[in-house]
Amino acid sequence: GQQVMQIPQYQHVQEGEDFTTYCNSSTTLSNIQWYKQRPGGHPVFLIQLVKSGEVKKQKRLTFQFGEAKKNSSLHITATQTTDVGTYFCAGPFSNDYKLSFGAGTTVTVRA
């Protein structure tokens, strides 16, 4: 079945450093979505990428959708304590509106 994999599972970052988390799908996705869950909170939608090779930025966050639409990445520059949380990628099953979520990358920040 369709599966979305995320790496790494955990990311410990020094405040001010950059890092990247990756998302890979076993099948082509019509779009990829990213969500953020703060500790003790619920997942909150960040962004959706639809086009092959698409790149979108939200302040210090850069999201990219692969050319083959089977992978995606989230790059955070100059990490801040407000970036703490778990980042999930998710993609829909073909012709379906269910989402397959990756296991998430949990980010902790050292001040």
Binding site: Q33, H42, F45, A90, Y97, K98, F101, G102, A103
Partner: protein, 117 residues
């Protein structure tokens, strides 16, 4: 506009007891979902609904039942709770087919933390 709300926020059950989790959304969304979240396993879909009166099984449906009698409500039932059902349960909703903009974008409720002893 409250978005997605869940009741209760926290519950402790004994093995074998039953309970119902309530999810309500005021965004007129067609699709609603129930997930469970366990450490290291992300969000796993239990059941979902594509409209009032319809339900379907997700990835981990065993031990759970659902009902969608009204468009705005989606109920998750545990008939005989087991310790393996200790988890955080999230409800979500989306516009679905024919909706506005990002049809599949899901809006999550605050979650219900369930402990089964």
């Amino acid at each position: 506009n409250a978005g997605v709300t869940q009741t209760p926020k926290f519950r402790v059950l004994k093995t074998g007891q039953s309970m119902t989790l309530l999810c309500a959304q005021d965004m007129n969304h067609e699709y609603m979902y129930w997930y469970r979240q366990d450490p290291g396993m992300g969000l796993r879909l239990i059941h979902y609904s594509v409209g009032e009166g319809t339900t379907a099984k997700g990835e981990v449906p065993d031990g759970y039942n659902v009902s969608r009698l009204k468009k705005q409500n989606f109920l998750l039932g545990l008939e005989s709770a087991a310790p393996s059902q200790t988890s955080v349960y999230f409800c979500a909703s989306s516009y679905g087919r024919g909706g506005h903009g990002n049809q599949e974008t899901q809006y999550f409720g605050p979650g219900t933390r369930l402990l089964v002893l």
